[in-house]
Amino acid sequence: MANRSMTSHLAGHEAARGETPPDVRFIRVPSIAERKLGADYVAPIRLDPRVLDQMQSTIRTLETKYAEALSAQISMLQLLVEPSAKGDSEARSRLYSLSHDMRGLAGTFGFPLVGRFADSLCRYIENCHEEDWRDGSVLRFHVDAIRDAVDNPGTDPAITMETLNALERLIAATRGNRKMAG
């Protein structure tokens, strides 16, 4: 490892005056491309539209399979709400795991609204208290909204936004009531 000085234009006088303290090291790491390609390396590597097309077509081929899986997952969500409300910890964990999957994947496969509702559901569960689980109504509304987003993909975005806002208001009201009761 060789040390070398490098003129910095980042901090003017400070750079000229300051020396690197012994407990701070800056290491220049060679690029992976340079290391792997050796003499064949030509910088910079740019995004190749043909490769991008290939990747996007890969996603399209997975879409049909995902749509089928999504439908089954939503049915499972609907089944899990009741046992979750009754205290079944395995059902709760499964419900979160399915929502988490939807949050991460639905948008990639052409179901952005499902992703948004699943995101809202995940955030709700992440801060869920026992009373919220027992009540179950916010969970049910979310699952219904997810089902609706799949069954009616052409829904007016304004309605979707209003549904999301309504869910947010419902969450706030539920938590507000709990605070007052507590």
Partner: protein, 165 residues
């Protein structure tokens, strides 16, 4: 050229979702990556990291046992080994500022928010393969330089001396 680079790298994918692992696997294959290792959590990833020594890690944030943050922190703690400096791309549905800053402060190289797109993944891979950032070691931080912009700032510039790996 691009294909030949991707054909020569190895990638470790860590995600507890089977769907996400499958999606990342097929996207990487479409890019031409031949050597892909899959792990379902941070613990399994640690084993694979040490046995396969991949060039790049793509990890989810929320996993049990051993989430992506813990795994990345452990990886960055490998001092004296080039493996401790490999690029980490974190894929996460938690896109709030706090999560992104947490990822940055444990030494994540790139952050990719879910839902992912082919372009987003491709661009970040090019970034880490071809445009590496200077690696910084301090008593409290080990990871790529967190300053991405050449803008003036208050205080001492300690980037005057750079070691070459």
């Amino acid at each position: 050229m691009t294909e030949s680079v991707f054909g020569k790298i190895s990638v470790l994918v860590v995600d507890d979702s089977a769907y996400m692992r499958h999606l990342l696997l097929t996207l990487l294959q479409a890019l031409g990556v031949n050597e892909i290792h899959l792990a379902i959590n941070g613990e399994e990833a640690w084993e694979l990291l040490n046995s396969k020594e991949p060039d790049i890690v793509i990890t989810d944030a929320a996993m049990v046992p051993g989430d992506g943050f813990m795994f990345a922190k452990r990886l960055r703690s490998l001092r004296g080994r080039a493996l401790g400096m490999i690029p980490i791309i974190m894929v996460s549905g938690h896109t709030d500022l706090e999560s992104v800053e947490r990822a940055r402060d444990i030494g994540i190289t790139e952050f990719l928010s879910k839902p992912i797109s082919a372009r987003g993944l491709y661009e970040r891979l090019i970034q880490v393969i071809d445009r590496p950032r200077t690696f910084v070691e301090t008593p409290t931080y080990r990871g790529p330089d967190r300053r991405r912009r050449d803008t003036p700032f208050e205080g001492t510039d300690r980037r005057g001396s750079i070691a070459l790996l």
